[in-house]
């Protein structure tokens, strides 16, 4: 089971290592992790996408809550939040294939942000699932490099995660 946790933490040195350390120590697997400051500069938000059964998620939430700099942990409910991930994908492209790649970009609503003699670079901001579809489409052309930010997520509607 995949789940998304939204974690508010005090914006101080060492917090990220405390959190990532907790995952590895208790052998929980992380798919992605993204950090950024919130409207309150003393508070950061960490979005974690991880894998595990109900027992693992519950333990993880509780163990995260035990960390002193962790202010709040919320498990986002499937279907009730928006998630996005920014990816930069550099694909091998001979001049003959360039048109096909442009078509894929158009179809998937991705941007082409760099074109060179032998490469085309895509910028894509979507859910992790859609990003995977784009990657699968691009694979046959030869992907040179992928850089992904990790998923960030926010509740739909009025719901929010605040300190």
């Amino acid at each position: 089971m995949k789940y998304t946790l939204s974690i508010l933490v005090e914006n101080q040195a060492g917090v990220l290592s405390k959190i990532s350390g907790l995952f590895s120590r208790r052998s929980y697997n992380i798919d992605s992790l993204a950090v950024g400051v919130t409207t309150d500069p003393t508070v950061s938000r960490i979005t974690v996408v991880a894998n595990g059964d109900e027992y693992v998620v519950e333990q993880l939430e509780k163990q995260l809550n035990k960390l002193i700099p962790v202010i709040k942990v919320k498990r986002l409910i499937e279907g009730e939040f928006i998630s996005r991930e920014l990816s930069l994908i550099k694909v091998h492209s001979s001049s003959t294939k360039r048109f096909e790649l442009l078509k894929i970009a158009e179809l998937m609503n991705a941007k082409i942000v760099d074109v060179a003699a032998s490469t085309v670079t895509f910028e894509y901001c979507e859910t992790a699932e859609k990003t995977q579809i784009l990657i699968d489409l691009l694979k046959p052309y030869g992907i040179r490099e992928i850089v992904r930010t990790g998923t960030v997520a926010i509740d739909k509607g009025k719901a929010e995660v605040t300190a």
Binding site: V9, E10, A13, G14, S17, K18, G21, R25, V43, Y55, E58, Q59, K62, Q63, N65, K66, L67, I68, P69, V70, I71, K72, A163
Partner: protein
């Protein structure tokens, strides 16, 4: 103007600290200089830093205030780790203060530099690497608050040398603490407490399993009252020994792989288990995940992460044991225990009365420990080490109003002697006795020097069987009796060794002799090492 080091001392004073345990070194020298002549705080110089942490643990457990240990950077700090980890696993409130290299040298791998906050990450409740001298009062205030509230645990404060030397305008100790992410829930949810009461009232065969949380929250008497009101029998974990007097009619002893058969048998038959301040690790209940299938479980703990971790729970109650017990007592009126269960438990207790076999020419440790209990004052503190000696003590020390200090969570050999030093510093008028094996004794016998230097009235009973007995038993059971590296032959003459440290000592080979010595030494105000020859085949349990 006031220096960081002076501020550190003033913070400790403001927290009411009267004793610290430590070992100096270059980067913590400014603090030691401040300790030298402008404070009443007593410093106990241990002989290795790990023992400073164990002593702080013994101190904390004996007087229910955080223990403080101090070490220098690098090896001093890394030596503390086992002691810090022990306190973490045993949930003991502790402040560990370490010197660190100058802040401008941090990260350059200079002499005696170690990333101690990083290394201790998994073993501390929280840690601080101080960045500004101005932050010291707030950090000390927070550290003590975090260590002693909620589920107690060790907090590490790592302070670069230059921040101890820097001077700031003035010192003011904060009165309050504001930590956004730390607000332990102590009250216990009323709805859950009601559900628990209903569950107890509808149960036929209820049982209480009490752990260390009952002792650390100071709820021992409330738990006793609750048990007496309801007549529900009580088991304890290793860390919970002392929640009831051993001879209390409702007390069945310690549960677990090395516990009493009567206790385990009762647990097996219960239809409701009320778990109080215990995490129920694998030594308490070998297959805890199966427990909730047979019996309903009410789990009361200050740490929400413990609930549902090892045992399936019917009614979870997060809260301080004092508050929860108080509410349970108020609401349990009119409950009477099923007489059949009452009879059954009494039968169990009688059925499993221990029959102990003895070996001629050797001390029988279990009988001796049982006798020892009544030769000491009723508030005596017994510090047991780890190994067979721990099990002998856990099952045979007849505790009354005193304490039983051992490391049930971490199981660190060498704990007993330094823990006794801490306990004695906290409770000078109480009898403090160590029971250890010849293996565990040799892990911290350097502390005989600390005992002698401070003339601490601690009696040490070494159960010598020339074996690492607990591992040897395991080898007999699981490794076809291949005694790999568990024989301690050619040991030193412990009596001569103790005397070399200036501590009186004797060796005995029978219970009569041993008891005679114990009777005499408990009267004296000097330390003593009693070496008891124990037959290698004396088992941990029956």
């Amino acid at each position: 103007m006031i220096s960081g080091a002076d501020i550190m001392v003033k913070c400790l004073e403001a927290e009411g600290v009267d004793t610290v345990f430590g070992y100096p070194g270059a980067t913590i020298c400014p603090f030691y200089d401040s300790l030298y002549d402008n404070t009443n705080i007593k410093h106990i110089l241990v002989r290795q830093e790990q023992n400073a942490a164990h002593a702080a643990s013994g101190y904390a457990r004996a007087c229910s205030r955080p223990g403080v240990c101090v070490a220098t950077s690098g090896p001093g700090a890394t030596n503390l780790i086992t002691g810090i980890a022990t306190a973490y696993m045993d949930s003991i409130p502790m402040i560990a203060i370490t010197g660190q290299v100058r802040s401008d040298l941090l990260g350059r791998d200079v002499f005696q530099e170690a990333d101690i906050t990083g290394a201790c990450e998994p073993f501390t409740k929280h840690s601080y690497l101080v960045e500004k001298t101005e932050d010291l009062p707030r950090i000390f205030k927070e550290a003590f608050h975090i260590a002693k509230t909620g589920r107690p645990g060790p907090v590490l404060i790592d302070i670069p040398q230059d921040l101890q030397e820097n001077e700031i305008e003035s010192f003011e100790y904060p009165e309050t603490v504001e930590i956004k992410g730390y607000k332990p829930n102590t009250n216990g949810h009323l709805v859950q407490i009601k559900r628990a009461v209903e569950l107890i009232k509808s149960s036929k065969r209820p049982l209480i399993v009490a752990g260390g949380g009952v002792l650390s929250s100071g709820a021992k008497l409330k738990l006793q009252k609750f048990a007496e009101m309801t007549q529900i029998p009580v088991l304890s974990t290793m860390m919970g020994i002392g929640v009831m007097p051993s001879d209390h009619p409702l007390y069945l002893g310690m549960l677990g792989t090395h516990g009493r058969k009567s206790a385990n048998s009762a647990l097996h038959k219960a239809d409701l288990t009320i778990v109080c301040g215990a995490r129920l690790g694998d030594r308490a209940i070998a297959a805890p995940d199966q427990m909730g299938n047979k019996t309903k479980v009410i789990h009361i703990d200050i740490d929400p992460a413990e609930i549902g971790k090892n045992v399936k729970t019917t009614v979870p109650i997060v809260g301080d044991m004092n508050n929860v017990m108080k509410r349970l007592i108020e609401n349990i009126d009119g409950y009477t225990i099923d007489s059949q269960w009452d009879e059954e438990v009494k039968d169990l207790k009688a059925h499993y009365q221990s029959k102990i076999s003895t070996f001629d020419g050797y001390v029988e440790p279990r009988t001796l420990i049982s006798k020892l209990s009544f030769m000491l004052k009723s508030k005596a503190i017994l510090c047991a080490d780890v190994g067979q000696n721990q099990i002998w003590c856990a099952n045979n020390f007849r505790i009354r109003e005193g304490r039983f200090l051992t490391t049930g969570g971490m199981g660190t050999m060498g704990y007993s002697v330094p823990a006794a030093i801490g306990a004695k510093m906290a409770r000078k008028t109480r009898d403090v006795v160590v029971v250890c094996g010849d293996g565990s004794f040799q892990m911290s016998l350097n502390e005989l020097s600390t005992i002698a230097q401070n003339n601490l009235n601690i009696k040490i009973i070494v159960m010598r069987n020339h074996r690492l007995g607990m591992v040897r038993e395991l080898q007999d059971k699981c490794y076809k009796g291949r005694h790999s590296a568990t024989i301690l032959n050619d040991e030193p003459d412990f009596v001569a060794l103790a005397k070399a440290y200036g501590i009186d000592s004797a060796e005995v080979s029978s219970n009569e002799e041993a008891e005679k010595f114990v009777k005499n030494i408990v009267e004296s105000d000097k330390p003593f090492v009693l070496v008891c020859n124990v037959h290698p085949d004396t088992p941990s349990i029956l």
